[in-house]
């Protein structure tokens, strides 16, 4: 059963990431990115890394804010880069070979309450970046 869940979650994560990058309509691409973040969150939660999963969810949601601010620059081109695909396949093959090395020890992932303000500050930083992009855009339009 666990193997089936693992295969489904991995396939969903991969499919949504490719959909996000290859979809020409930007709005659907953003929706795809959100589904990708959710799938990755479930994937990590299934592995027992719950805190890391929640942090990835919050960081991914923050990225969506910046993506929304970047919407003006999102006119999509239609391109398939063969060289980029070959480089990506080569990197995947090398990493797949290296994963055969076993880890020396295993330990759980936990979070101290002291880190919560840090994550909140990160959220504020993203909001500030989104506002600054808007200001840059407004200034550019005025010129």
């Amino acid at each position: 059963m666990e193997m089936l869940v693992a295969i489904i979650l991995t396939a969903l994560t991969l499919a949504t990431s490719i959909y996000t990058l290859e979809k020409e309509e930007t709005q659907r691409s953003f929706v795809g990115f959100f589904v990708f973040v959710l799938a990755l969150t479930f994937l990590l939660a299934h592995c027992g890394l719950l805190v890391l999963a929640l942090v990835i969810l919050s960081v991914g949601a923050g990225s969506l804010l910046l993506l929304a601010a970047l919407f003006t620059f999102s006119g999509e081109e239609k391109s398939r880069d063969v060289k980029a695909a070959l480089v990506a396949i080569a990197v995947a093959l090398i990493l797949m070979y290296s994963i055969r090395i076993r880890p020396l020890y295993r330990a759980p992932l936990s979070l101290s309450p002291l880190l919560i303000p840090f994550i909140l500050v990160h959220g504020l930083f993203i909001v500030a970046l989104a506002v600054s992009i808007r200001l840059i855009l407004r200034e550019g339009e005025a010129e």
């Binding site: 693992a6 991969l14 990058l21 992932l109 930083f125 993203i126």
Partner: protein, 104 residues
């Protein structure tokens, strides 16, 4: 075959998808999405490789990973906004491909 191994191979494929997006896409939004995919999958893969679920120790290592993820994400976004600012101010253009014309 352990199900964790399926996740690890999946995350490796995700890293390659991120690299592909980074090399082939030409818009700010897609480049940012590629960077996010790359950062998330790399951190998750390393966390899966090092951390597991057997012993109740090494909380500090987990916290280090979370700090690393947040700092990495903040850095990506900060550099990204700086690039947009440079392209808009210096080149008066919106295309990321024009970054290569910057000197110094």
């Amino acid at each position: 075959m352990n199900f964790m191994l399926v996740y690890m191979y999946g995350l490796i494929l995700l890293i390659s998808v991120g690299i592909y997006g980074l090399l082939s896409k030409q818009t700010w939004a897609k480049i940012l999405i590629s960077l996010e995919i790359l950062a998330f999958s790399t951190i998750s893969l390393v966390a899966l490789l090092i951390l597991g679920s057997k012993s109740p120790e090494n909380i500090a290592l987990g916290e280090t990973y979370i700090i690393l993820l947040t700092v990495l994400d903040s850095s990506i976004m900060g550099i990204f906004v700086a690039c947009i600012f440079l392209v808009l101010k210096k080149l008066k253009a919106e295309k990321p491909a024009l970054l290569k014309k910057l000197k110094g």
